[in-house]
Symmetry: C2
Subunit: 277 residues, 2 copies
């Protein structure tokens, strides 16, 4: 594998040091990112990822220094250089250097190619454990780089053999650190649209569930989630991932539920055929 | 002036690119900073700044790769190289590179020398305007790099001829984007200790006010602040800065109040004699 990155119009080796220590991404946490991958060598749901990235940039008042077509050409170039069957792409847009450390002048744009993240197929077979955590993301609809609580709690999660945090605030559930959450109750699929990042995998799963079950989009409180028949989380890297335990509470029978299983199969079938027209 | 930076044991030119694009400071917003300066060539209240930085690092579970004595030697070295009468120092500690983008392995530590920030003496003479803004900082006692709202609102502040934001949540006042806030009512000095960064200038001002007035440390709600006789903010760069207007409300007579004036004089006398024993 030969991994490269795009940085403001140049293609550079992935490990090259490209940021000065006064970038607003570093000293002010002013940045956006996104992360997605190829299946069968074709970027998954590119239109959706680009649209979200563009919206996030607009919300942070950052002018994108690259357009959609040019960005797609960069993806194809980076993929070809990688000589790998599949790659992941990480977008990063920061505030760049500001004379007064406050007013953005010229954002810095990076597109990294990365090897695929480690997959956890046993999680999809048996379900994962998550810890309830009282927190709601600031500016949740924007994919900012603020993941302080996730990093801060990483050791605690390991100790408790948990894979992730389930954010709730005043009882209202929003999302996991990097993924959306759904519950199934009496054959209905329920997910919230409040205080969340609108996940692309979430969107795809809602499409795939259309003809399978009734769908409710509404606020969810923690007690309802703990008493659900099935709970699962969705993300670009986790796909459809069952949650078998929230804190000390076992969900349903503690095994992957039947609706979750069907949605997993449909999602994985979509991935298997992605790019093969 | 010849400005340099310390980076993990090396001294490098200030503009050298030292960060790779996968540092947790960039992709996860996982970082700390601090900022202070010399007066008469001597770092101001070094013991206090170091203690706060060490506490912040501990709170973020980042192991400091440099000790207090070594860090002070770096300050003196960077100051000597600068050939300037006064400099500012910016500390930055990030999560560094993590194989899984989650578990910290080896933090990156930077100490930058910078020219002094632009001073606004007319602000201290006439007072500044601030905008009330509904927000409370996450992890407020830690000087993390999360300043997204400040950058996001920078243009709006300019348009409204305001210098800063006054954070309040459910009516309770905490702080400005980078400074603490005090009010004076009938000769009493009142400031909060909830949801704030414990400012070094705040600490010094409380020392200087000891024999001048009664001091109350307690929660403050916005209506009380709007009806105060005097309001001012304190920071390493603003010193004792009067606030003459909050949103549309003029504070007191809209001029610098007598207690604020005395505290300004005392603080500036301390700076003038700093390092001269």
């Amino acid at each position: 594998m030969a991994l490269y990155q795009y940085f403001n119009g140049q293609i550079l080796p992935l490990e090259e040091r490209i940021f000065t220590s006064n970038d607003l991404g570093l000293i002010r946490g002013y940045g956006l990112f996104d992360f997605f991958r190829t299946y069968n060598g074709v970027p998954f749901r590119w239109d959706d990822y680009w649209e979200r990235f563009e919206n996030s940039a607009r919300s942070l008042k950052l002018t994108l220094p690259i357009g959609k077509q040019e960005a797609y050409a960069v993806l194809l170039d980076l993929y070809a250089r990688s000589e790998a069957p599949e790659v992941a792409f990480r977008f990063l847009l920061t505030g760049g250097i500001a004379a007064d450390s406050v007013h953005v002048e010229s954002p810095n744009m990076v597109i990294r190619t990365e090897s695929l993240p480690v997959d956890h197929p046993q999680g999809r077979l048996q379900g994962i454990k998550v810890l309830p955590y009282s927190y709601v993301r600031d500016l949740p609809t924007i994919k900012t780089t603020n993941y302080v609580h996730m990093i801060l709690m990483a050791d605690e999660m390991k100790q408790q053999q948990a894979s992730d945090l389930l954010f709730h605030k005043d009882g209202e559930v929003s999302e996991l650190t990097r993924s959306n959450v759904f519950l199934v109750k009496e054959g209905r699929l329920i997910t919230t649209d409040r205080h969340i990042l609108y996940g692309i995998t979430r969107k795809v799963v809602l499409e795939l569930a259309q003809d399978l079950m009734d769908i409710e989009i509404r606020p969810i409180y923690l007690p309802e989630m703990l008493e659900a028949d099935e709970v699962f989380t969705t993300s670009s890297t986790k796909w459809v991932m069952p949650i078998r335990q929230i804190g000390d509470t076992t969900i349903g029978q503690g095994a992957v539920g039947p609706y979750t299983r069907v949605l997993q199969e449909r999602f994985e079938a979509l991935l298997a055929s992605w790019g093969k027209s």
